[in-house]
C-alpha cells in the first residue's frame, strides 16, 4: 500500500482505544513486568507513546513543513518518557495518551496537507533525508511496533507456564527486535 493519509489517520486514531481495551485494570503481573534487564514493561511503552506525541510526530512534521532539509529534527530522547510518567498510574497514562493523540490528529488535520506536500523533505539526524509521507507512515507503523512489543512482553510472562507449547507459539520465538 502506498502512503494514504485517511488510512494513516484511521489507524492512528484507533491505538488509544486498543491499548485501553487491552491494558486497563489488567493485573500488574501483565503490565508492570518486562522482558529482562534494559527492556520496557507495558506501562513504559504507553509512556513512550505519549512522549512521542509531544516530541516527535507533529513537531517533526512541522519542522519538515517549515524548514525542509535545512534544519535537522531534534534527536529523540528514548528516556524522555521516564520523567513524564513518574507518580502516574497506568490508567492515567491511558487517559493521557487518548487525549494527546486526539490533539495530535486535530493538529494533523488542521495542517490541511495536500498530495504535493507528502513529497516534501526534511532531515533526520541519524538517517538523513526523509519525506513527510515517510514520516507519517512511520508514525502509524511505530504504533504497530509497540503493539507488537506489548503483546510480546505480556506473552513473555507466561513463557514457562505454557510448558511444551513454548516452541509452538510464535510470539515466544520473537527475538525482541522491536525492543526500544
Amino acid at each position: 500500500m502506498e502512503f494514504n493519509l485517511p488510512h494513516t489517520i484511521a489507524l492512528l486514531s484507533r491505538t488509544p482505544a486498543t491499548l485501553n481495551a487491552l491494558l486497563r485494570d489488567l493485573p500488574e503481573a501483565w503490565t508492570f513486568h518486562n522482558e529482562g534487564e534494559n527492556t520496557w514493561n507495558a506501562f513504559e511503552v504507553v509512556a513512550h507513546l505519549i512522549y512521542g506525541e509531544r516530541a516527535d510526530w507533529i513537531p517533526r512534521a512541522r519542522i519538515i513543513l517549515q524548514f525542509g532539509e535545512t534544519r535537522a529534527f531534534e534527536p529523540f530522547d528514548r528516556q524522555g518518557h521516564v520523567q513524564a510518567s513518574q507518580n502516574k498510574s497506568l490508567a492515567q497514562l491511558l487517559d493521557e495518551f487518548a487525549r494527546i493523540r486526539s490533539e495530535s490528529l486535530d493538529q494533523l488535520r488542521a495542517l490541511n496537507l495536500q498530495p504535493a506536500d507528502f513529497a516534501r523533505r526534511g532531515r533526520h539526524p541519524a538517517f538523513g533525508p526523509v519525506t513527510l509521507s515517510q514520516h507519517l507512515a512511520s508514525w502509524a507503523a511505530h504504533d504497530l511496533t509497540h503493539l507488537h512489543q506489548i503483546s510480546r512482553i505480556m506473552a513473555h510472562q507466561y513463557r514457562e507456564a505454557v510448558g511444551p507449547w513454548r516452541a509452538y507459539l510464535g510470539v515466544l520465538q520473537c527475538a525482541g527486535h522491536s525492543a526500544p
Copy 2:
C-alpha cells in the same frame, strides 16, 4: 509468573474488545491484505480465533478433565476457520468472537477449577503430556501470538511507505515466526 487463573481470565476477557478497537471499520487496505503467499490477513486471524473457541480451548480442557491422558485431543484443523468465515464481514466476525469468547469464559468459570486441577494431565496429539494449567496458559499466550501477528501483518502493508525507517521499526524486522 506462574499460572494464575484470574490473571488468565483477565487477559482472555480483553481480547475481543482489543481486536474490536483495533480493527472495526478500519480500511480494508489494513485488514484484508496479508504478508504474502500462504499467510493470513487480519480477517483470517479473527476467524481462526473463533474456530479455536469452538474446537480447541474449552473442548480440550473438558477432555483433560474427563479422560486425562487416556484420550488424545482431536488434532486442530488450521484451515477450520475458512468455511466458518465464508460470506461474513469482519464486523460480523468481531461480534461473533466477542460472543463466543464470553460463552467460553462462562464455561471455564462453571468448571469451578481448584488448584489441584491445574496439574491434571491430558495428551496432546503432537507433543504428548500437557497439564491443564499449561493448556489454559497457552490459550492466553495464543491470543497474544495473534495480536502480535496482526500488528505485524498490518505494519507489513507500510513496509515501503516508511522509507528509511524500515530498518528501525522492530515490527518490520519480525521474521513471521508467528505465522499460522
